[in-house]
Symmetry: C3
Subunit: 395 residues, 3 copies
Amino acid sequence: MDIQKLIDQIEQINSGLYQKDFLLTWEKSESALRRVLQVAEILREMRLQNISPKVYDSGLAVSIFRDNSTRTRFSYASAANLLGMEVQDMDEEKSQIAHGETVRETANMISFLTDFIGIRDDMYLGEGNKYMREVGAALDEGFEKGVLPSRPGIVNLQCDMDHPTQSMADLLHLKQQFGSLEELRGKKIVMSWAYSPSYGKPLSVPQGIIGLMSRFGMDITLAHPEGYGLIPEIVDIAKNNARNSNGSFKIVHSMEEAVKDADIVYPKSWAPFHIMQQRTELLKTGNKAGLDALEQTCLAENSKFKDWEYNDAMKKLTKSQDALYMHCLPADISGVSCKEGEVNGAVFEKYRIKTYHEAGFKPYIIAAMMFTNKFEHPAQILKKILERGTKRFGL
Amino acid sequence: MDIQKLIDQIEQINSGLYQKDFLLTWEKSESALRRVLQVAEILREMRLQNISPKVYDSGLAVSIFRDNSTRTRFSYASAANLLGMEVQDMDEEKSQIAHGETVRETANMISFLTDFIGIRDDMYLGEGNKYMREVGAALDEGFEKGVLPSRPGIVNLQCDMDHPTQSMADLLHLKQQFGSLEELRGKKIVMSWAYSPSYGKPLSVPQGIIGLMSRFGMDITLAHPEGYGLIPEIVDIAKNNARNSNGSFKIVHSMEEAVKDADIVYPKSWAPFHIMQQRTELLKTGNKAGLDALEQTCLAENSKFKDWEYNDAMKKLTKSQDALYMHCLPADISGVSCKEGEVNGAVFEKYRIKTYHEAGFKPYIIAAMMFTNKFEHPAQILKKILERGTKRFGL
Amino acid sequence: MDIQKLIDQIEQINSGLYQKDFLLTWEKSESALRRVLQVAEILREMRLQNISPKVYDSGLAVSIFRDNSTRTRFSYASAANLLGMEVQDMDEEKSQIAHGETVRETANMISFLTDFIGIRDDMYLGEGNKYMREVGAALDEGFEKGVLPSRPGIVNLQCDMDHPTQSMADLLHLKQQFGSLEELRGKKIVMSWAYSPSYGKPLSVPQGIIGLMSRFGMDITLAHPEGYGLIPEIVDIAKNNARNSNGSFKIVHSMEEAVKDADIVYPKSWAPFHIMQQRTELLKTGNKAGLDALEQTCLAENSKFKDWEYNDAMKKLTKSQDALYMHCLPADISGVSCKEGEVNGAVFEKYRIKTYHEAGFKPYIIAAMMFTNKFEHPAQILKKILERGTKRFGL
């Protein structure tokens, strides 16, 4: 692909990304979202053409993972490394955080020579995004008061509300699968709950999907059993987005009904909002017995909905019997990773490689978020990188 | 600031830093200490002016943390990264150390392509500094016998005796706050014990402070309740230093008395020397019951001294009622991180940002220790870096 | 040493290393093994002469350690860093592997911007090497289907069958000690079992040694008590290798008999093959009681062979009473790291520094495996590196 042409397509407008944290897609303008996708595509193409986009001679990218991670951890490390930064993991168990240190203090202490902080904090409803903003406010103060030589950018690597590096990678996947963002207009995407033998999966992926895909004129169907709702305020945001982008948004309580004529299906388990609320309270008070009881109740409740599996019968109902299947991975695959799960083994296998492609955009999305945070005029810098022509590998 | 001018101020004398480990400030000449500060200031200024001081195209900086760390861990990583080295943590739990491997063997095994080893080992009185020297002797042998291509430098990231990266960062903070090292002459600094609800804090910070600040003609007051003494040999070193530098040194057993007319107050908890001695024995023998009993005794003892809090009444006794408050962080702040602690919440808040500035010198101090260990004539190299003009960030 | 001369010695033939994983030495041609040694020597010499062989401007080298490691972990990190890659450890405990994710999925998820994956998996007979091939097949698919921009190379950092980075480092040590590979022809090397107070040590080192040293016309003696055999198929490979290279191979059940007139002695403990088979079954089923019982049986059995210690009496039987002692380290040293062990303290001490030299080749062997995997014509690239003349350290 001609990288220069891709660079030329970047609009000369203020995207509002410069020196701003990337916390929620719905806080960003449409031009900001487009720009992140464009820069991600260019960085990916540079990698494919063995052109190094390194822009840091040194620098740290701190990661704070308050929950397990594979894909996002490696994507963040890859993005940082590609641009020239070294990842330094903030392992709270090896730190002195437990000594009662305040967030604002820690945020400054790890940031003296830091350019980015990536945070995953998705366990507690009402907490994760708040924590990121608390870190951000501390960094603002530190920079303003001359403690920090620059204001490190924050990348939300999944919170209780959104999972923007995931949803933006998903969007880039859709852009590439359908040819352009314009082609997504009028396409039907189904974000559907699906059965899983585990419990307590975060709400951030389905929320991220409906919050973002509703920006581009798509017809969104959110499907889940009654009682399995998402955070109401975010559902409202998605509704508004759909209205503003001339798309549509509806909620149904049947997977069959939802997937009819769908262009895209995203079947994924999550815990009901009201269960997550109870769970958050129990986690905060360390109520182990309560958590165990809640888990049993929830698993029993879930087991009523084992027919929410995306399988061949469901697939046959979709557009041309071949809707694009999406998942953030790892999926609970019936007969592969569990007995009964979110998706039938054969159906998953048909789209498996596509889900890998989908995941493969994440490193470039994160790198693009970093790039657009640090450079006000990314096109100019990308052009210089192209002219410089440093090889990523080889002499 | 004009970096060239700062470089010109570096004296053309042999500081004795070249190819020497940095283990204790009192082993270093005054010119060595001055040089570390100067190089740290220059590296800091380069970072502010976006000039990259990278001098390694590759290289490892190994870290061995035998106790938790946030500030020092990130400072060490930042320093290594700034100069071009990658941090590789030696996690003893993931290694084969437990197999009975000797220190001299491990020291060599981790050093084949290593340029620095940073060590924190502050748990056992009489052990930490000894361990660093054992590692150093092993590296000497490995280098001499051709096992190692170069002799990695050792940086003491806190031991049982000293915490030189902390005290040197503190000294640089004082230099900047008061204008010059000369201005510190005759200033009164109080290193005071303070109450904390925790127990067993290391002695290395107060020892490091009295051992270093006594080199520059300051009037040192060490304040603590009776029975809360430091290692006697180090107190003697501080006394001698004070005498040699035309400063003064005294010990008092009242915080009120100590802080009168003080220019600088450093209120911080530590465990009494004799308790640390008992604790070390109990730790060595793995006597869990004994440790618990000792902790209870010590906490009960501590609780008699809750009035050793640095608060507004204390502050009013200081020079212009506004002595510079210092702390290595995290502080035990009454009403913030604990009920009753080392410092009153409002007083801490007044100097909070200054303590962040204080902490912010540590990465540059460590980088300067590395730089002066590896380059016999740092001024020449710094000049070349300036001429090279590589940007740390951007094209 | 003249690097240009070393480069000129690299033959212009197809070694078969390009774009191939390094999993077992006996899968590689003799010219491939020679080439790895040559490139390793050149990279080592460049490091000694302060020439940077960095060929990556960015890139990740992932490590997966399913067992503890010090030497190999730091060697892998050093090799990656020397060539310009950053190590990213895949800590399975911090990942979502436990969610039932498949190997083929994980392999792709960690590889989007990855150039190498180093794997240690030596706990289960029949599993480690298989796992590496499973990862390799997944990477093949990912690359073929366009998921991965390039096919990351795999380096076996120890499996159930072989420990090629160890045996190749050992071979390079022998090459340097005896002057050339040709000089090894007809030399007698004894791979001998030795007593250790621990149990369950992997078979991969002795297997790796007999599998590799038999390629170069050496006279191999494998010595162990009856019942302490290695994997029979690998012993057969060593026999065939010896026949094909005009060397010899025999098995004896007495250390005294084995070491007579030996040029080289490698005394090291390992668990009997049949015990490892039982252990593997018990580990798979999580049979803790069974494992404990097996350990007791095995330790009791081992204790009958405490006279399998390499000591002065043994050494006196060797060629000129001074056979080269080798060990992969850490050794169980009688009177140093254990009461009774694999080697007598004084004998070990005599060769201690040589074992450090032996270990010191590993980083360069790994770097050479990486280099020859990525460059079809390494001599050309090494020549360019020499001409470029970038310093590893300094300005």
